[in-house]
Amino acid sequence: MEYKLTFKEYNEALKKDKLLGLKCKECGKINVPPKMVCGQCTSLDMEVVELSGKGNIQTFTTVFVAPEGREAEAPYTIVMVELDEGPWIAGNLIDIDPGKVTMELIGKRVKLGHKVFPGDKYSAGDMARPLFSFES
């Protein structure tokens, strides 16, 4: 059985600042990241949809000790965002001082862009990730 929305397709769309997900035709749940079956009802009957990329910050951290090969990126801030359509996704946050973020970030409105991680010897290629900035 064919996989409906592969990482390759998701990744190529994200590189154009488009966030793709799967909407379940049985229960209506939006699934991001994409999956074989609906995460709520396990239906296979899902369609590809483009999401708004807008939502609220739920939690955050700033990484000071980076993995091998990504030292130059640190410090960087990671946020988990609840999209207006319901799912949570993780990405980086810009337009802030990573060393000075506080609990006040929680609840802030953000919108999605992207940044490409060029990959390393383990990653099987490059990958875009959401890059969030404040909505207003």
Binding site: P33, T62, F64, V65, W88, R129
Partner: protein
């Protein structure tokens, strides 16, 4: 199902980077476990070995086969278990099931890892492989980052000011260091104060150095036998009376439960049900304190304390000897150390020692009867619990 007992245990010291190979480390632990059991290598019918990152730390895959041959358990079936930091607990659990089923009578389980030998940058990179490589890692997620994200969620969900929560978290680290001091197998032998925790350098906001467990090298080994065989081998059998395991997907997909980890709650429920006990029946527990906040999340998920109240429980001594349940008298991952593929077997080692009354003065629980292990792999991806009971 037959009753299954631990009849012998062995463990190397958990350490910083050292030069023994994984095969050598596991052989040392395994021979101690066999000698304790009054068994010879030829008596072992199968090996179940946790090992996570040997491919990266020393370019060694399939270490379980070399380990079996090295200790003279020639040509036995040898299987490797990989569930990130829960690998060895999975290995012990599967070993238990094969003996319980009647298929084998005597098996060896355990784990080995050289996480410290990799150095922090490579260890940080490879540990991050236990998050979702496509949908999480591109953001630069690391394991401290995951628990830092959970810390802020915890503070918000239970409405605890972050500064207050961090003090509570620091108290869990201080308790871990206190017991690590008394454990000759522990990676760290030093006292640390709340002030030192709160002044240590920032790893991932708000987690500081002393909120985080170390990368360690080490191995642990456990001999399991059927009840009938165990009675011939030892007058102090420790029975495995309950086991549970559960899985979960990427952290974001767990949003409906966070900061609680559903996989832990399911795994623990399965273990308690199999054992026919309740959380309040547990005297001692070795829980997965990879980060200070993980103590709080684990103790609540295991049913020891109310959700959002673990920090207060630690402050009142409820997680210490004389409290509700004595937690991590080994020093835990924080001070005893975290050689990830061996950690779960190390927890079993500690519980068995405690139940036998064999640990050092100052960290021996008073006549414990039931002990629990709790091991977490990834960001809740793998959870495994074992419940052990004194058999005499």
């Amino acid at each position: 199902m037959r009753k299954v007992a631990v009849v012998g245990i062995g463990e190397t010291r958990f350490t910083a980077a050292q030069e023994k190979t994984e095969v050598e480390l596991f052989a040392e632990a395994a021979m101690d476990a066999l000698n304790e059991s009054n068994l010879k290598p030829k008596d072992i019918q199968a090996l179940y070995l946790g090992n996570c990152l040997g491919d990266f730390s020393e370019g060694q895959g399939m270490v379980q086969c070399f380990a079996a041959e090295n200790i003279g358990a020639f040509n036995i079936p040898a299987s490797r278990f990989e569930g990130a930091c829960a690998s060895a607990s999975m290995a012990v659990r599967d070993a238990f099931m094969w003996v319980a089923s009647g298929f084998y009578d005597i098996v060896l389980a355990g784990g080995v890892e050289r996480a410290a030998s990799m150095g922090t940058p490579l260890a940080t990179r490879t540990f991050a492989m236990f998050s979702d490589s496509r949908y999480e890692y591109p953001s630069g997620i690391t394991f401290p980052a995951i628990f830092a994200l959970l810390t802020h969620l915890y503070a918000r969900k239970y409405d605890i000011p972050l500064a207050r929560l961090k003090e509570q978290m620091a108290i869990t680290s201080v308790q871990a260091y206190k017991y690590g001091m008394l454990n000759p197998k522990a990676h760290f032998h030093k006292e640390v104060t709340v002030e030192q925790v709160l002044n240590s350098f920032m790893v991932c906001l708000p987690l500081q150095l002393h909120d985080c467990c170390p990368f360690s090298d080490g191995a642990a080994a456990i001999v399991l036998a059927s009840e009938e065989v165990a009675k011939r081998l030892t007058n102090k059998p420790v029975y495995i009376i309950g086991t549970g395991q559960a899985s979960a997907g990427p952290l974001c997909n767990q949003k409906d439960y966070l900061p609680r980890l559903r996989s832990r709650e399911l795994s623990a429920e399965r273990a308690y049900n199999m054992a026919g006990i309740k959380p309040e029946d547990v005297d001692i527990a070795e829980i997965h304190d990879c980060f200070s906040v993980a103590n709080l999340i684990a103790a609540e998920g295991l049913g020891f304390f109310e959700f959002g109240k673990s920090g207060e429980a630690w402050e009142r001594g409820e997680a210490d000897i004389g409290g509700k349940v004595a937690i991590n008298l080994s020093g835990g991952l924080k001070a005893k150390g975290h050689p990830i593929g061996a950690t779960g077997a190390g927890q079993v080692y500690e519980i068995v020692k405690q139940l036998r009354g064999e640990v050092e003065h100052g960290r021996q629980a008073p006549e414990p009867k039931i002990g629990l292990t709790d091991t977490l792999g990834g960001d809740g991806g793998t959870l495994c619990n074992l419940i052990l009971q004194r058999g005499w």
